[in-house]
């Protein structure tokens, strides 16, 4: 039973679509259209260029010895410049996940979106990438499961985070 099923009337005056159409309530409609072209910067430009090549690149901080992904030119913990580029693997472990049943327009989705944080192999534990999961039944997803990136073909890749289609499960134990 729906929670609202028992309620027969709500307090106040209900506005009908006709009221709005008849101009009983006035408003002003405007579509705001700002446009941006964000400079990716040193670290993310290299990261995207490497995605185009089908690789994931990170930065290493020699002070705390963490391998940071997504890469950045500064270590936020040590507040110093990071030191070197390190290629890491496109495999990892599901740190956490959520199965989203609601779209951005608040409608129920026919096919749920599988969102996960994947701790990438080769990066410092706890660092990774937020992406989608695929080739898996939602009910089979588990925290701790091993996954691998499924890439677009090299001709399709354009230097974007979506060059990775999704992560799929590997080597089911």
């Amino acid at each position: 039973m729906k929670l609202s099923q028992k309620i027969t009337s709500y307090p106040g005056h209900e506005i009908t679509p006709e009221d709005v159409k008849d101009g009983k309530y006035l408003d002003v409609v405007y579509k705001f259209e700002p446009k941006y072209s964000w400079a990716a910067g040193v670290a993310i430009s290299r990261f995207l260029a490497d995605l185009k090549e089908g690789r994931i690149i990170a930065r290493k901080c020699m002070n705390c010895e963490r391998i940071l992904v997504p890469p950045r030119m500064y270590c936020e913990k040590c507040f110093r410049p990071t030191d070197e580029w390190v290629h890491i693997k496109d495999t990892g472990t599901v740190n956490t996940y959520s199965i989203s049943h609601v779209g951005t327009d608040a409608r129920r989705l026919k096919t749920p979106i599988l969102v996960a944080v994947v701790d990438l192999d080769g990066a410092t534990p706890g660092m990774g990438i937020l992406h989608n999961l695929g080739e898996i039944e939602p009910s089979k997803i588990k925290v701790g499961m091993k996954v691998k990136a499924v890439w677009k073909s090299s001709s399709e890749r354009q230097g974007a985070i979506t060059d990775i289609r999704y992560f799929k499960p590997v080597g089911e134990e």
Partner: protein, 383 residues
């Protein structure tokens, strides 16, 4: 007793029309690293309050506050963002220090306007959506309206406004940050294209990218930090009504009130003779004249004549925007106030290079948030 908060570190980056090679965050890291080195502090240990002055629509990210910590060394530290001019951020830092919440506070503001493809859409969107937004023109028409009323009420001659642009653009040629420096004459300024009458294009500042970071400290702590402390002795800020048609268009009333508060705090009785330099709002040429009168650095209606006679030149009685101001250096959105403070601090430290005003000891700085706002702030600085 005057306010006594020390500016113990400054750092800046960018100051270019475009910075395509760096992300906003990388630009900020560069400025912050320099400021912390200048102050001799470790942001991970020595700072109890971080304040950013940004506005979501300029950033192109909503709730942009959340993207500020990493590049300032502020991860898991107290940080807040203020959607106003950088001098309001300095005022907030002063309050955090005076209240005992912080001994050392950091204030950052930046412009990454080169990331914004249609900035006029954003300024225009700041107009009242129901009452004013119907005017489908470059939002500088608001400046045109103010300027026309100012010229009429004060009987200021049109060419005196042009002289502001000539002076500031010329000053900027000596400033390594002076992106829009130029050697022009009044005819060139007056004959440049009309943006919104009577305002011309060369009387409108152009935007640039950059980040500016200040490290502030309590009087006690400042003694142990940095080598060139400049003191904030008074600070004030104020907002007029957002209804454009209900404001006094000829006056910068927000600046009058901000100045009155800052002067009272600093014990400034006769502003016209008190200061060695002033960095004031010159987003548009007439704004400098309006601001000088609001700050009581010129009598009502007399600022234009004084600019014309050279009183506000670099070697004049009171150098005004010796840095080149926004007309000569560039406009930096919410960081514009911090840019003016930066130039004043370098002067009071004796580090202004070829711009240096010999023996500068006292400065007044004033900012305005730009079209269509009527918000401004004033700081009184001393060394």
């Amino acid at each position: 007793m005057p306010l006594r908060i020390g500016i113990v570190g400054v750092g800046h980056s960018g100051f270019d029309s475009m910075t395509p090679g760096l992300s906003t965050r990388e630009l900020m890291f560069e400025a912050a690293s320099r400021a912390y080195e200048d102050a001799g502090i470790d942001p991970r240990k020595d700072v109890q309050s971080f304040i950013c002055c940004t506005e979501d629509f300029w950033e192109g990210i909503s709730i942009t506050d959340e993207y500020m910590p990493d590049q300032l060394g502020a991860v898991l530290r107290p940080l807040c963002t203020i959607s106003s001019d950088g001098i309001v951020g300095l005022a907030t830092a002063c309050m955090h220090i005076m209240s005992g919440i912080a001994d050392v506070a950091v204030v950052e503001s930046h412009s990454k306007i080169s990331d914004v493809l249609n900035p006029d859409e954003i300024s225009s969107f700041a107009l009242d959506p129901i009452y004013t937004h119907h005017v489908n023109a470059d939002p500088r028409f608001v400046a045109g309206l103010e300027m026309a009323r100012y010229l009429k009420e004060t009987a200021t001659r049109r060419e005196f406004c042009a002289q502001v642009a000539v002076k500031n653009k010329k000053n900027a040629l000596l400033n390594p940050r002076g992106v829009h420096g130029a050697n022009l004459d009044k005819e060139a300024v007056l004959n440049s294209k009309v943006a919104a009458s009577p305002l011309t294009e060369l009387e409108s500042s152009k935007t640039i990218d950059g980040s500016i970071v200040f490290v502030l400290a309590s009087a006690q702590k400042a003694k142990k930090l940095g080598n060139h402390t400049v003191w904030i002795n008074g600070i004030g800020w104020s907002s007029d009504t957002p209804l454009i048609e209900d404001r006094d268009m000829a006056r910068a009333a927000y600046a009058e009130q901000s100045a009155a508060r800052a002067y009272k705090m600093a014990g400034v009785r006769n502003p016209a003779t008190y200061f060695d330099l002033a960095e004031v709002d010159d987003t548009y040429s007439y704004k400098e004249l309006q601001s000088l009168e609001a700050l009581k650095l010129a009598a009502k209606g007399k600022a234009g004549k004084m600019v014309e006679s050279g009183s506000f030149d670099r070697d004049g009685r009171l150098p005004v925007n010796a840095s080149g101001g926004s007309l000569g250096v560039g406009h930096m959105l919410e960081a514009t106030g911090l840019h003016r403070v930066l130039e004043a601090v370098l002067q009071l430290r004796g580090q202004a290079g070829r711009l240096q005003i010999p023996g500068a000891k006292k400065a007044v700085v004033q900012s305005w948030r730009g079209i269509p706002t009527a918000t401004g702030a004033v700081a009184v600085l001393g060394n």
